[in-house]
Amino acid sequence: MITMHFSLSQRRYRNQHLWWAFLLHRLSGLGLALFLPFHFYVLGSALEDAAALNAVLDWGESGIVKAAEAGLVLLLSVHLAGGLRLLALELLAWRTGHKTLAALAVGFAMFVALTFFMIGE
């Protein structure tokens, strides 16, 4: 972990802020990594025939699965936004405030868009 030095007045606020960003990014990544094999396996069931995939898609209409999908949407939005923030931080000469705003904007936009598709069909 990188140690950063701030003035006394800034230290606590800045460190907690960045630490939460790191933790969110890591936990959302972990969640996605655990979901991914399941996602691949379900799609691979199409190997047998379309009926097999349809059976899974029908199961996907149930309430619990929809809730889980919404959770995944959140994980993806958070991880992508946090990741883009990191890339901007490392590759671009931006000011810190802008980077956080950009990440929030992307994350929010994605979550809103994806929530719409979750609710309606």
Binding site: R26, F40, N54, L87, L114, F117, E121
Partner: protein, 110 residues
Amino acid sequence: MSKESRLFLWQRISALVLAPLVLIHIAVILYAVQDGLSAEEILARTRGSLFWMGYYGLFVLAAGLHGAIGLRRIAAEWLGISGNRLDLSAILVAIVLIALGMRAVVAVTW
């Protein structure tokens, strides 16, 4: 370049590849689920398509690499795994993710 530096670099590269692929993937899903979702609809779009095979093939490679490197870091920092065990575990994760992913790509685009 040290191993850790190289992995750090590949994590960033795979992230840069994944970002647009993920956004396109989401856009396609949004379009596809408009009137409900069925296997026939999905497969009609993707079966026999070289484009989707290439797209999802790249997606699987990047995601497998990115996920394996990320999980390796978590294993090192939170589970205290190190040395050969750490690297072998990461390689195993990458193989499982990419193998399952490629099976799905073939299932959907072949």
